[in-house]
Symmetry: C3
Subunit: 307 residues, 3 copies
Amino acid sequence: MRHLLNPLDFSLEETGQLLDLAKDIEDNLPEYSHVCNGKKLATLFYEPSTRTRLSFEAAMLNLGGSVLGFSSADSSSASKGESVADTIRVISCYADICAMRHPKEGAPLVAANYSGIPVINAGDGGHQHPTQTLTDLLSIRSLKGRLNDLTIGLCGDLKFGRTVHSLINALVRYENIKFILISPPELRVPEYIREDVLRANNIEFIEMDSLDDAMPDLDILYMTRVQKERFFNEEDYIRLKDCYILDKKKMKLAKEDMYVLHPLPRVNEISVEVDDDKRAAYFKQAQYGVYVRMALIMTLLEVNKPC
Amino acid sequence: MRHLLNPLDFSLEETGQLLDLAKDIEDNLPEYSHVCNGKKLATLFYEPSTRTRLSFEAAMLNLGGSVLGFSSADSSSASKGESVADTIRVISCYADICAMRHPKEGAPLVAANYSGIPVINAGDGGHQHPTQTLTDLLSIRSLKGRLNDLTIGLCGDLKFGRTVHSLINALVRYENIKFILISPPELRVPEYIREDVLRANNIEFIEMDSLDDAMPDLDILYMTRVQKERFFNEEDYIRLKDCYILDKKKMKLAKEDMYVLHPLPRVNEISVEVDDDKRAAYFKQAQYGVYVRMALIMTLLEVNKPC
Amino acid sequence: MRHLLNPLDFSLEETGQLLDLAKDIEDNLPEYSHVCNGKKLATLFYEPSTRTRLSFEAAMLNLGGSVLGFSSADSSSASKGESVADTIRVISCYADICAMRHPKEGAPLVAANYSGIPVINAGDGGHQHPTQTLTDLLSIRSLKGRLNDLTIGLCGDLKFGRTVHSLINALVRYENIKFILISPPELRVPEYIREDVLRANNIEFIEMDSLDDAMPDLDILYMTRVQKERFFNEEDYIRLKDCYILDKKKMKLAKEDMYVLHPLPRVNEISVEVDDDKRAAYFKQAQYGVYVRMALIMTLLEVNKPC
């Protein structure tokens, strides 16, 4: 039985197959509407995350399955002191597959060790959120037609953002990927990413602090939020924050076939005036998130497309 | 694409078609049990309202569709500062239609402007609650067989009750409607209802403060709650409240074919001894609420009855 | 119309038929996957209980039905002061059957009096939890092949545990049942159980305070939690608690075909080292809980297995 706990649990080949399936789902959605009839997904959300939860639920409903679960720890038995190991053994009697969000790092791994059903990590603390990474990969591949030969700009808080770290880890497995890492000096990628991931894999990368300068070279711009509380002082924050807000003026510097992604929710790091630009793909990305989760559920349940 | 944001969004003719469909649903329920197979309703309830939410969910399930969503803002992404405009664009990737309840007036209108799917206003602050009005219209038409030639009594808090204002606005479009407006002087309908709605449409109406006096003339009695906190002083409240509690004694003054409606929940403004009276229609009204929401979902999704 | 409010609402014969149906469901699960198509279960949980709620929802989904409801009073209309009687009359318009959990004893009984649909008591305060008792009966019968001729050990807090009291009440209806009641002196079964249930039915029972001593004779060991706050003083608690923790060493004293049950959630009263013992049946018990609830829903809805 397979689980999905980390973004790299699937090999490059397996990831390719998953993305192929997601693509076929996008192209032939009605053909998949009954493949999970009679199957049940449990959404075990020990902390709220509407977007992620509803994306999983939409995915399972699209496949003809059904859904049960809880959306916050308050309404769960966790408050009665039950261990994750015990909970998952009970849930294994109720559902065929589960998606777990938990504030503690490693909780989904513990669950997987005791589970009778496939466990999908839907985010564990600041640790991993593998279906976001798969969503990002599918988005890039669908928008650009490839996962090789790309210049990827990552912009914002590159120090604490787990989404960005996971995406870098996932993309270094493809050929001829070049990163432009755009952030204030305080929020650069951690040393281990630079050394153990980028340099160790001979990946070309540039660190810069001007989004304007980076724009012309990018095939993909992946935006993330710069949170005020990450800065050492208010002064720096005020000085720097506008440099990392994407607006129409900055978009003019970009290629015609560059696409903007964002894991959402955004606050103000992408100006709403960009939303109507045909290169703004962050809402489309939410749609890819449903397709990739459909593919993932099918893969873990070993369900095939009907002939 | 159509939305339902205000009770008068549908013309008189469209409302008539909707009520006809609801009537046919009531009479031939099983024939509708698969018309929304594969369709998904998102219930986006930024404030709790079990009755309204479950009525929508029952409606969608009765049509063969499925449901996802959230039942309070706590478990949504709203707490992360996401705008309604962004949320609805993401939800548009997850569902085919949505019902939104929001504490802020106008939030469903904002959502509709950015939505890729039909938006139903399920109540926005003290503003509008159009499916309650449609429920009231269907209830009256089903119970009395018509929406013309009726004397409608509205009783209770007519000053602040949005339900009552919406119902008046909806009923003035029909012929030969007469209103008897029964309330304490402090809680009469606002001036704009009297002038811009009733007098402007040449609608006959009487304002009185005695429910007893009104009873004999009524075809429909629409009860609402008189909240203690609406009164200027405790003395007035104690003096007046009993006059607006419907009981068996008052029911004896009414016609044999007069029906009592109430948007629910009631607290004590209708004595439980009235519940067994065959003219007490406020629980049946909840059933009409499901039928009219079924008709509404079908109409907005442009789904037809199978031949 | 039937409801299930108390564990003994069903006669011995009816209980037998229910358990027979549950057994057939276990053996032929796929044959039941559409018997409740188009039916809706309302889960009305005025206090959270994830395990019980999800067990009901899994049961209904397994039967091809669908589910709506709420998982805590916060997100219900209860906060608006609506009575249970009014709520159930509205819910009767939305669903075909309901499971109600309520902090107040007797609330499901009140609901049943006004309901248009079957009501299942899913736990009312410290009072009754009849589907737990049915789960326990099915577990014992499935594991041991019979409900007669058994020596049942009940261990832990026998004074306050409603689960234990209900199970005793249910088991005294079978033949040749012998109880071994294992608890600290402070937490023995109440006098009325001893007199009005056990002695009045000529049931053989022994009270002892050593789990070790009891082990060799047992066919079933039903464990419950010993809560620290139940003890008169810390000293007694420390002295006694270890005697009531089931571990590998104690399991060695038991028969090869003795089975351990527990209503869950457990905290530490069963050591995790016991989980791998083939006689540890407390997680399998959760599975039986789904089967018995499927049988119960079918019975109350008067739905039959397809020929």
